[in-house]
């Protein structure tokens, strides 16, 4: 059973949840989106919430997307007003906890877009965890707001999510 993934995807207005079986990797993805940027931009950022419903800590070690050459796990850090980016090798999600990627903080850095992306486009991504578990995610391109930096990253669709698992 290890490595086996049962993915329940619920597509509700650009919202994708991926739930894996409990004995492999019990990870749920909430509200994935990609920050819209000018069409000539090669580097974009993706945000989402990674929820670990399992008993064991999970380590995200790789992210890939067919729409980009490379994807990195990055963190924007503010020292005073100075914005600085750090590259993370892995991202730990403790048991029964979630880690939120949001503007001004953690994000997936999508590098070298294969074609320009516009608002409303879908970006498929695969998250690979250290135990071999993989989670498929589809993020939607949309214009971000500074409010996205706040703590409420759930949108109206979060209710639908709860019915699906």
């Amino acid at each position: 059973m290890v490595g086996f993934l049962k993915i329940l995807s619920s597509l509700a207005l650009g919202f994708v949840a991926s739930v894996a079986s409990a004995d492999s990797i019990d990870i749920q993805i909430l509200g994935p989106w990609v920050q819209a940027a000018p069409p000539n931009v090669k580097v974009l950022a993706a945000y989402l919430e990674i929820k670990n419903n399992g008993e064991k800590p999970q380590l995200l070690v790789n992210v890939s997307s067919p729409a980009f050459d490379q994807v990195g796990i990055h963190r924007s850090v503010m020292h005073g007003n100075m914005a600085h980016m750090e590259h993370l090798r892995e991202l730990a999600i403790p048991p029964h906890a979630s880690v939120t990627l949001k503007p001004g903080g953690l994000h997936f850095m999508l590098m070298d877009a294969k074609k320009p992306l516009h608002v409303g486009d879908s970006v498929p991504m695969t998250l690979t965890f250290k135990n071999g578990g993989k989670v498929a995610v589809t993020a939607t391109v949309r214009a971000g707001q500074m409010e996205d930096m706040g703590d409420h990253q759930h949108m109206d669709h979060s209710e639908h999510m709860n019915h699906n698992h």
Binding site: V41, N81, A83, M85, Q145
Partner: protein
């Protein structure tokens, strides 16, 4: 006779001195008591203690257009330093600034008074032409500029907006290095002085409302000083 004239001179000197002191005291009192002279509390945090005079600088925009101190004079300039390979903070800040401009541009008096300038501190990857396309996505009047390292260093130092271009990480391609930059939106007044700043995280409403108060305060103060002196 000699003694008397000396006395007269002394007395007239004393009178003159008294008048001079009174006038000085009055102006001082007028300045310190005038509520218009002191910045309102709600914009105080956005203003520099004293507007800072800038010296001429040289940056380049699309179509080889030069941006220097002259291009800042006569307008309020909102200036942001960043780079286009910055996917997180830069597009978000420019989007906020674009939305703030949308609010401000509804006011026909304000529309011609404001300009938005994006300074790329990454001239290796950002050309003036690519910057034009980049900034126009956020507001079609925004100006994108960059320059030589020396020119960028000079201007960012004047604006207290330091930046660092980091060497690429091991195993990364030549094009994927990172840049640390200041994510404040700086405000230069129509006299070409660094006047205020909007520290992160900004919101469109905050930038628009605070700017209108800064502008009103600036205009009132300009009129007042004219009247006092």
């Amino acid at each position: 006779m000699k003694r008397q004239s000396l006395l007269l001179t002394k007395r007239s000197l004393a009178v003159l001195l008294f008048i001079a002191l009174s006038v000085t005291a009055f102006i001082g009192w007028k300045l310190s008591n005038d509520p218009v002279i002191k910045a309102p509390a709600e914009i105080e945090d956005y203003l520099f203690w004293q507007a800072k005079e800038l010296t001429d600088f040289k940056l380049t925009g699309a179509d080889n257009k030069t941006l220097g101190l002259n291009e800042l004079k006569g307008k309020w300039s909102f200036i942001f330093f960043g780079y286009t390979h910055c996917p997180d903070v830069c597009p978000l800040t420019l989007m906020v600034l674009g939305q703030a401009f949308k609010i401000l541009e509804k006011n026909p008096a304000v529309f011609p008074e404001i300009q938005g300038i994006f300074v790329s501190v990454d001239p290796k990857r950002d050309t003036p032409e690519s910057l034009k396309e980049y900034v126009s996505y956020f507001n079609d009047r925004f100006i994108g500029v960059t320059g030589s390292t020396a020119d960028l260093d000079d201007f960012s130092r004047q604006m207290s907006a330091m930046y660092t271009v980091h060497p690429k990480e091991a195993g990364q391609s030549d094009d994927t290095y990172l840049v640390t930059h200041n994510s404040t939106v700086f405000l230069v007044d129509p006299q070409g002085r660094l006047h205020g700043r909007f520290p992160p995280p900004q919101t469109p409403k905050e930038v628009a409302e605070v700017f209108m108060k800064i502008r009103m305060f600036y205009n009132e103060r300009s009129n007042k000083q004219w009247w006092v002196f």
